[in-house]
Symmetry: C2
Subunit: 83 residues, 2 copies
């Protein structure tokens, strides 16, 4: 079994209105030292195989076609090999 | 400056319908070895301070009161001290 941790983040040049709202809320609650908030997605995917090459190939397609919007989002991932 | 990486994940006992939909989509697209998908939030917060104790105190409150729903979600975070 291979577990992939996939991070889908907005590209740095893209405005993050949700993060802005969270930041304003935190300021209102007195957390004055907060200077930036970015909200992203974190997706865990388990694969029933131990073939890392195959998993990486699948993941590239999955991120490109399903999980991330290539216009505004970037992705990265880590693999964990487990029992 | 301290950067916090916050992970808001559904508790293991809580069903993740969004993850289920993603998994079904991946099966339809031929990624048959995918056995589980869980969708979570990943939030980056920058603090304009180098006081780690203060940041940890803030983060506990922020996660408990703003970011996570304690009934269904768990949180964890890592701190990075930067320039």
């Amino acid at each position: 079994m291979i577990k992939a941790k996939v991070y889908i983040t907005l590209k740095p040049s893209v405005l993050d209105p949700q993060g802005k709202v969270v930041m304003n809320t935190l300021h209102t609650l007195g957390h004055a030292s907060v200077s930036e908030v970015r909200v992203s997605k974190f997706i865990e995917i388990k694969f029933d195989t131990d073939n890392e090459v195959e998993v990486r190939e699948s993941l590239e397609k999955i991120c490109d076609k399903v999980l991330a919007n290539p216009n505004t989002e970037a992705y990265s991932y880590e693999l964990e090999t487990g029992n």
